[in-house]
């Protein structure tokens, strides 16, 4: 069997054409690859290593780029312009978005992409001041809300923001009230759906905790300063309510109160101070103008009197010239007094306007809160302002009366002049 197997297999030999074909193939392949193949294996290895390295480098670039260009936290800056900045892991600004119309205006001509958060906020707050979104009286409330899922980071960002805003405002010698807050990113998506900035959304939410009848729609375009004032009123209300009713404050309300209290009180204090200062200023100015006008008219009158006295014992022609001069002086006095009266009127109008500005915030919110609750505090405040304005009015009136008296004197003088003239004419 074994021999059969062997002999059978022995009969199997490679056919000549098979060998020839293989030989041709081998020769063709070995000739053009004798050197190449061996080398190309090494080259392949090198190529492989090089390409892997390239992939890593490119991947590194893409990863690095993504790392630097992806916002990991946001800061929303609300005054009434609402602006949102996207912040990357290195605290640089990578995205900027004006959330409302004023926000867009605020961002016009500002290039803050790739700048440090602190610089960017300084620049923006400066721009807000230039574009008069921040008033000189120091009553503007600036809200800075840092949004990040990392609480420590959000707190850190809001601190940076507060510092940046305060230092820039110190530089410009304008004071503002800074309200800072933190939130997580889930709030941001909700706010985006409503088309408002996350910072304002959080403010509104807190305010709603105090007064559930308020809607986002009503507060959407309100200034942060106004929201703060309203918050103070509501807090005061809840405090007094607590004394009479059994319903204790809810947890949300307590939190909202805690958040708002200091800033709201500060804002309110500043508004009151500003209003008072404005009225004091207006009063003083009106008085100054009238006093100086009075003094000048007095002088002119004295001159005219002296002139008329000096006509005694003069020739007709000389007398006529002097009377004409006296008349001119009296006319000048009249003009002066009239001008002073007009200025006083203007000041009165300006004071009225300021009064309007000061209480407009309160009125706006009174309208916004369509609740039936009468806001005692608010009314008090408005009344206070009204009283101040009335006082100023009274002063103005008094002054105006004085001026009118002066007018009478002038008339007298004029009358005297006339009489003298007539007398002279007769002579």
């Amino acid at each position: 069997m074994n021999t059969h197997f062997k002999s059978a297999l022995n009969k199997i030999v490679a056919e000549d054409d098979l060998v020839e074909k293989t030989e041709l193939f081998l020769r063709a392949n070995l000739e053009n690859s004798n050197n190449k193949k061996a080398r190309s294996a090494k080259q392949m290895k090198k190529l492989l290593v090089a390409s892997i390295a390239a992939v890593f480098v490119i991947g590194g670039f893409i990863g690095g780029f993504a790392y630097l260009k992806t916002p990991v936290a946001y800061i929303s800056l609300d005054i009434n312009p609402s602006v949102e900045l996207g912040i990357n892991a290195l605290n640089n600004v990578v995205t900027v978005e004006g959330v409302n119309q004023d926000g867009e205006t605020l961002l016009e001509g500002q290039d803050i992409i790739n700048t440090n958060v602190s610089d960017a906020l300084s620049q923006l707050i400066g721009s807000a001041s230039d574009k008069s979104y921040i008033n000189d009286e120091g009553t503007t409330v600036v809200s800075i809300t840092a949004e990040s899922d990392d609480e420590d980071r959000a707190a850190e960002l809001s601190d940076i923001g507060e510092k940046a805003v305060n230092s820039e405002m110190d530089k410009r010698k304008v004071s503002v009230v800074v309200y800072k807050d933190c939130s997580d990113l889930s709030l941001r998506t909700e706010a985006k759906e409503l088309g408002i900035s996350p910072g304002k959304y959080k403010l509104i939410k807190n305010l709603q905790a105090l007064d559930p009848t308020l809607t986002v729609e009503q507060l959407k375009d309100a200034k942060v300063s106004d929201i703060m004032l309203r918050a103070r009123q509501l807090i005061a209300e809840l405090d007094t309510e607590e004394d009479y009713s059994d319903s204790p404050k809810s947890k949300e309300q307590k939190e909202a109160i805690k958040k708002f209290k200091d800033t709201a009180n500060e804002a309110h204090k500043r508004v009151n101070e500003a209003v008072k200062a404005a009225f004091e200023d207006a009063k003083k100015q009106a008085k100054d103008i009238l006093n100086s006008a009075k003094a000048k008219a007095e002088e002119l009158r004295a001159q005219a009197k002296a002139l008329l006295k000096s006509t005694k014992g003069m020739t007709g022609a000389e007398k006529a010239a002097i009377v004409a001069r006296a008349e001119e002086l009296l006319k000048q006095a009249e003009v002066l007094i009239n001008a002073a009266g007009e200025q006083a009127d203007e000041l009165r109008a300006a004071a009225d306007k300021q009064k309007g500005d000061a209480i407009r915030a309160a009125e706006r919110l009174r309208e916004a809160a369509k609740s039936d609750r009468v806001d005692d505090d608010n009314v008090d405040e408005a009344d206070e302002v009204d009283d101040d304005a009335d006082e100023v009015d009274d002063d103005d009136d008094q002054d105006a009366d004085e001026v009118n008296e002066d007018d009478d004197v002038a008339d007298d003088v004029e009358g005297n002049g006339y009489q003298n003239k007539m007398r002279l004419g007769k002579q």
Partner: protein, 166 residues
């Protein structure tokens, strides 16, 4: 280049002369298709000539080539194309001697793992230890495969008697 190509020529001729029959036999054991055989020939010899292994001896080279050829044959018969087509030249065996034909038929009809041990053991005359090395198997596996192959062959060629004792 001339030197190199003439050198190459010699090597090619030498290798083909030395091993073509053996490679052909192994191919015969596994493949039934002329084209496959050509493929295996080309690839096996190309590999031999391109490899930079320094063989310790002629025997080493032969064993290495055995192993390469067996693996190549398996690869070819395993390929998707091969699996899904039936060759028309299937099982064509050109032997006149009835005895030889019978034995060969019997061996060819064995499963692959028996065929290779039978070939290496009986034809090439390797020991079980050497076969184990070539096939990258355990020595005991080789023994048991050999044993089972013998059983099968006995059963197949059965009654025909005494001479069929491997």
């Amino acid at each position: 280049m001339d030197l190199a190509s003439s050198g190459t020529n010699d090597v090619v001729k030498h290798a083909l002369h030395k091993y073509s029959n053996m490679v052909r036999r192994i191919c015969f054991m596994y493949l039934h298709n002329r084209e496959d055989v050509e493929d295996v020939f080309q690839e096996v010899f190309l590999k031999l000539l391109q490899s930079n292994i320094t063989f310790q001896s002629e025997e080493h080279e032969k064993a290495w080539l055995c192993r390469i050829t067996i693996n190549k044959c398996k690869d070819v018969s395993k390929s998707f194309w091969r699996k899904n087509t039936e060759s028309i030249e299937d099982k064509e065996i050109p032997f006149e001697d009835r005895e030889e034909s019978g034995v060969l038929q019997a061996v060819l009809s064995l499963p692959k793992r028996f065929k290779e041990v039978v070939y290496l053991f009986y034809y090439e005359g390797y020991t079980a230890k050497e076969i184990a090395k070539i096939l990258n198997q355990k020595e005991n596996t080789v023994y048991s495969n050999l044993h089972r192959a013998r059983e099968l062959l006995k059963h197949e060629l059965g009654g025909s008697g005494y001479e069929y004792t491997f």
